[in-house]
Symmetry: C2
Subunit: 186 residues, 2 copies
């Protein structure tokens, strides 16, 4: 979805910066790609770039957790179980949502397996997003997607389905209509 | 290394079956590939194929651990740490080493970051291997490899270095010389 959104935004004349984890995806030549590996790196790059952007779309799926402790040497098997303690990583989109200045907008993505619409609305509010794109695990490694575009109070602005390219074009049109034109007028 | 060994063995006239995890590697058309995902699936396929094989080379790096419990739904963040309990998976090469009949041979790979030669020799004995190929983490995602070929009592049979293709050819020659010709004569 990230590559499809970058492509759709660039073809509509927007200047696009992609902060991308190590994915096997081809981004269009016309966009600037900032490669990162960890969620902390993504947070730092996203915060830095957001300073000079009109808005942010959070289509990446950064790791929610990271090990508390890292080993530099291989751990030998002992015959016993291994308890891996994981701590939560920073929430990139929630951080941008908190930092946005007047006129800036943030669109989040929520991937849920249960109570999708409800949980997506909760995330929209908790993360101070202007729009939340709700989708499911069927989207992973698929050419197609089926999303609901949610605004505050649980209103469903649109239900979009098709190839990720088509859904990206429709999402960009909705973002322009709802967030960008409003800001240009206001 | 697995693809390079399959290719080297096939080009030397051996009938090759590759039990392969989900890797981004191209195997030669002349070999039979049995795709697996989990370590348990690799164990089952390797045991079944080993019945009708003269020997086995264990170049794969199957997961050493698996979660004790699997969730079918997405786990929501709670703000707290997450403790992941991991249990050891079955050891594929050790199982083949235990099962081998008279005339069959097993070559293992050991990837170690510390005390490489000592730990590789321990693995050779514990896993009932006829030869152990000892290498290090530099081999991962590299075109080249540097390995030591170890036999019982800690004897270093050969030290091989070069592209993985060249190391594979040299390993196959050593395996033929040490294990296959011996069995044909014996």
């Amino acid at each position: 979805m990230g590559a499809a959104l970058a492509s759709a935004a660039a073809s509509r004349g927007h200047e696009v910066v992609v902060v991308s984890g190590p994915v096997q995806v081809q981004y269009p030549d016309s966009v600037t790609v900032i490669p990162v590996v960890t969620t902390d790196e993504m947070l730092a790059a996203a915060c830095e770039q957001f300073e000079s952007c009109d808005g942010a779309i959070g289509a990446a799926a950064p790791c929610d957790y990271q090990p508390r402790q890292m080993k530099t040497e291989k751990i030998s098997k002992t015959g016993d179980t291994l308890k891996l303690e994981l701590i939560e990583t920073a929430d990139v989109i929630a951080t941008l949502g908190q930092r946005k200045r007047k006129g800036q907008w943030v669109v989040g993505f929520a991937l849920e397996t249960e109570d999708r619409r409800f949980r997506s609305i909760v995330k929209l509010e908790q993360k101070h997003c202007d729009l939340m794109v709700s989708n499911g695990p069927e989207a992973i490694d698929s050419d197609d997607n089926h999303v609901e575009l949610l605004v505050g109070e649980g209103e469903v602005l649109a239900s979009l389905q098709g190839t990720k390219e088509q859904v990206a074009i429709d999402l960009l049109a909705a973002i322009e209509n709802r967030l960008i034109e409003k800001h240009l007028i206001g």
